[in-house]
C-alpha cells in the first residue's frame, strides 16, 4: 500500500511545484522590430515576469548583439515600469561582415532579475545613403553579467509558461514505455510458463500503456496547437506514436479474434513481443532520419541536457516516477478485475 500513497504524494508535489514555481524573468518582445544602419533608435523592451524598477536605471545594461564579437551597448536606459524600459542605441553605419541585413539579439542585464535574451529581436538593414564609418561594433563587449541561481524555471520565448508541460506531457511517454516493457516481460513469462496469471498481467499493462499513449498524444496536440501553431503538424514523432498506438490496438483485435482464450493469449503474447521489437526502430531509429519539431531532434531522440536545467530535474524525474507508479497501480486494479472475471467464469 505504501507505494500507492507515495505515488499520490509525489504527483501532488509535482503539480504544486510544477504550477507554483515561477519562471525566470525574460524579454517578451521589443518595439520597433526593424531599423536602419547609422540611425539612433529608442528601443522599447517589454519584460515578462520582470521587476525592472527594483534597481536604479543606471545599473541596468542593454545590448544589441550579433555574435560574440559584435555587440553594442545602449547609452541611456529609462525604466517606465516593472515590465517596460526604454533603451537608446546608436547603430553603427557599417553592418558586421558587410551584410545587407542582420538580425540582432537583445540582451538585458539586471542586477536582481539576472540576464535575459530575446533572439533575433531586431532587424537592421544596411543603408546605402550613409557612408560614414561612424560607430563601432565592439566598443563595449558584453561582460559582468548577473547570472541568478534561484528556484525558478527557464524562460523560453514562444512557449512561456507551457515549459511546465514538461512535467505532465513528457512523463506520459516514459510511463508508456515502462508499461509496455512490463507487458512484454509478462508476455515472455507467459510463453515460458503458460499460466493465465502472466497473460492477465500483460493485458493489464498493455491497456494502461495505451491509456498513457492516448493521453500523451492528446496533451501533445494541445501543446502543439499553441507552441507550433498546429495541433497535428505531421511531425515524425507524432506519426510514429500514432503508429505505435495502432500496433497495440491491433494486439487487442488479435486477442479477440480467437474462440479459445488460451490460443488467443499465446498468439497475442507472441505478437506483443514482435510488435515491441518493431517499436524500438519506430521510436528510436526512424525519428533520427527525419527532421522533427521536438527538442533534441537531430540525433538525440530523448531530451537534450540544454532542454532541462537543474531546477526542472527536481520536478521532472519525480513526475516520471509518480506517473509510472500510478500506472502500475491502475494496471494492478485492472489485473485484479480480470482475475475476478476468470474465477467467476471457472465456476460456471
Amino acid at each position: 500500500m505504501w507505494w500507492k500513497t507515495t505515488s499520490v504524494l509525489i504527483l501532488i508535489y509535482v503539480i504544486i511545484a510544477g504550477i507554483g514555481v515561477p519562471l525566470k524573468p525574460g524579454i517578451d518582445r521589443v518595439a520597433p522590430l526593424s531599423s536602419k544602419a547609422g540611425q539612433s533608435i529608442e528601443l522599447q523592451v517589454f519584460g515578462y515576469n520582470s521587476t525592472f524598477s527594483e534597481t536604479a536605471s543606471e545599473k541596468i545594461r542593454v545590448w544589441l548583439e550579433f555574435d560574440s564579437l559584435h555587440a553594442i551597448q545602449s547609452g541611456k536606459v529609462d525604466v517606465k515600469n516593472d515590465t517596460t524600459l526604454l533603451a537608446s542605441f546608436q547603430i553603427p553605419a557599417r553592418l558586421p561582415q558587410n551584410k545587407q541585413s542582420v538580425l540582432l539579439n537583445v540582451i538585458v542585464d539586471h542586477p536582481t532579475n539576472g540576464v535575459s535574451l530575446l533572439p533575433a529581436a531586431l532587424e537592421v538593414l544596411a543603408d546605402t545613403a550613409v557612408n560614414t564609418d561612424a560607430g563601432n561594433w565592439n566598443e563595449h563587449p558584453i561582460s559582468q553579467l548577473h547570472v541568478i541561481k534561484d528556484f525558478s524555471y527557464p524562460y523560453r520565448n514562444v512557449i512561456y509558461e507551457t515549459i511546465r508541460n514538461t512535467y505532465f506531457h513528457v512523463p506520459m511517454w516514459f510511463a508508456l514505455m515502462f508499461m509496455f516493457i512490463a507487458s512484454v516481460y509478462y508476455s515472455i513469462q507467459y510463453l515460458r510458463n503458460p499460466v493465465a496469471e502472466n497473460d492477465r498481467r500483460a493485458v493489464a499493462f498493455t491497456e494502461t500503456g495505451l491509456l498513457f499513449g492516448f493521453l500523451g498524444l492528446v496533451t501533445g496536440m494541445l501543446w502543439a496547437h499553441y507552441a507550433w501553431g498546429k495541433a497535428w503538424s505531421n511531425d515524425i514523432k507524432q506519426l510514429m506514436t500514432a503508429v505505435a498506438l495502432l500496433v497495440y490496438l491491433a494486439y487487442f483485435i488479435l486477442r479477440a479474434s480467437f474462440d479459445e482464450p488460451e490460443k488467443g493469449a499465446r498468439l497475442a503474447a507472441v505478437y506483443n513481443i514482435f510488435a515491441f521489437s518493431s517499436l524500438v526502430p519506430l521510436l528510436y531509429i526512424i525519428p533520427r532520419m527525419f527532421a522533427s519539431l521536438h527538442p533534441g531532434a537531430t540525433g538525440n531522440p530523448a531530451f537534450g541536457s540544454e532542454d532541462l536545467d537543474n531546477t526542472m530535474r527536481l520536478v521532472f524525474y519525480p513526475s516520471i516516477i509518480g506517473f509510472t507508479m500510478l500506472g502500475v497501480w491502475m494496471a494492478q486494479i485492472r489485473y485484479r478485475s480480470l482475475r475476478l472475471r476468470d474465477r467467476l467464469a471457472d465456476i460456471d
Binding site: I15, Y160, T162, F168, T219, M330, R334
Partner: protein, 79 residues
C-alpha cells in the same frame, strides 16, 4: 456506486462543451493564447486528470458487473 452513472458525467461534459466557447468568446483572442499561455498547462493537466478518471469509471463499471454476477451466483446457490 450510483454516483458514477453516465447522466451526471454527460451533464458535466455538455456543460464544459457549451461553456468553453462562451469563455473564449469573451475576449477577442483565444484565452489560451494570452501572453504566458498558462491555460495550456491547465488544459494538459485537466486532460490527464479526465483521462485517468474515465479509466477509473471504466474499471468501476467492470467491477460492478462482476459483483452483480457474483451476487446472482450466490443467490442461485442458496436457493
Amino acid at each position: 456506486m450510483k454516483f458514477f452513472k453516465t447522466p451526471r458525467i454527460l451533464t458535466l461534459i455538455l456543460f464544459l462543451v457549451i461553456h468553453l466557447p462562451l469563455l473564449q468568446a469573451q475576449g477577442n483572442r483565444d484565452f489560451m493564447r494570452e501572453t504566458g499561455k498558462i491555460y495550456v498547462v491547465i488544459g494538459v493537466i485537466l486532460i490527464i486528470f479526465i483521462g485517468i478518471v474515465l479509466n477509473l469509471i471504466r474499471l468501476d463499471r467492470k467491477l460492478t458487473k462482476l459483483e452483480h454476477q457474483l451476487n446472482e451466483e450466490k443467490n442461485e446457490q442458496s436457493h
